[in-house]
Amino acid sequence: MAVAGTLTRADLAESVHREIGLSRAESANLVEQILENMCAALSRGENVKISGFGSFILRDKGERIGRNPKTGVEVPIAPRRVLTFRASQMMRERIVKSA
């Protein structure tokens, strides 16, 4: 696996291919399906909780008045739903040590 740098879907599919021995195409499909199932649950308004990894938590933000910082004009910011991620204790502990 690459040291630091950036992993993408292709790298995750490659890990699945190597670890499980499924074909590259099938591995890539599964990676896509994992992401799609999580994305679909979140868009239905469900939080997603993966033990040993973390939780994806939805928050509803109310409308508020913002200001264009350049012109100073007040503009309403529409109510919206935002996504936050809270890493599991296990992930935090592994990452602290890498500091």
């Binding site: 879907r9 499980i20 399906q33 199932n37 935002v82 996504l83 296990m90 500091a99």
Partner: protein, 92 residues
């Protein structure tokens, strides 16, 4: 949705795989992300979002019970930034 529900959905979508195999695929997927972050790297999944780490400087904290000052070492914390497509799907 929790992990076991994700595994069940994937198993249903892939009848050629056993539940055990799907479980291993899901574990491998999340472990690969964990391992990359633990090495100080990033994971970028277009349309979904990007996982990275951010560093926190050392600071003097306080024991909330006794009020005693304690030194908190510099550390890295995991961070997730949702992708554009994800943000759009949450607000339809």
């Amino acid at each position: 949705m929790i992990r076991s529900e994700l595994v069940a959905m994937l198993a249903k979508q892939n009848p050629d795989l056993s539940l055990k195999e799907v479980e291993r695929v899901v574990s491998t997927f999340f472990e690969a992300i964990n391992a990359q972050l633990a090495e100080g790297g990033r994971v970028e999944l277009r349309g979904f979002g990007a996982f990275s780490t951010r560093s926190r400087t050392a600071r003097t904290g306080r024991n909330p019970r006794t009020g005693d000052p304690v030194e908190v070492d510099a550390k890295s914390v995991p961070y997730f930034k949702p992708g554009k497509e994800m943000r759009a799907r949450l607000n339809v």
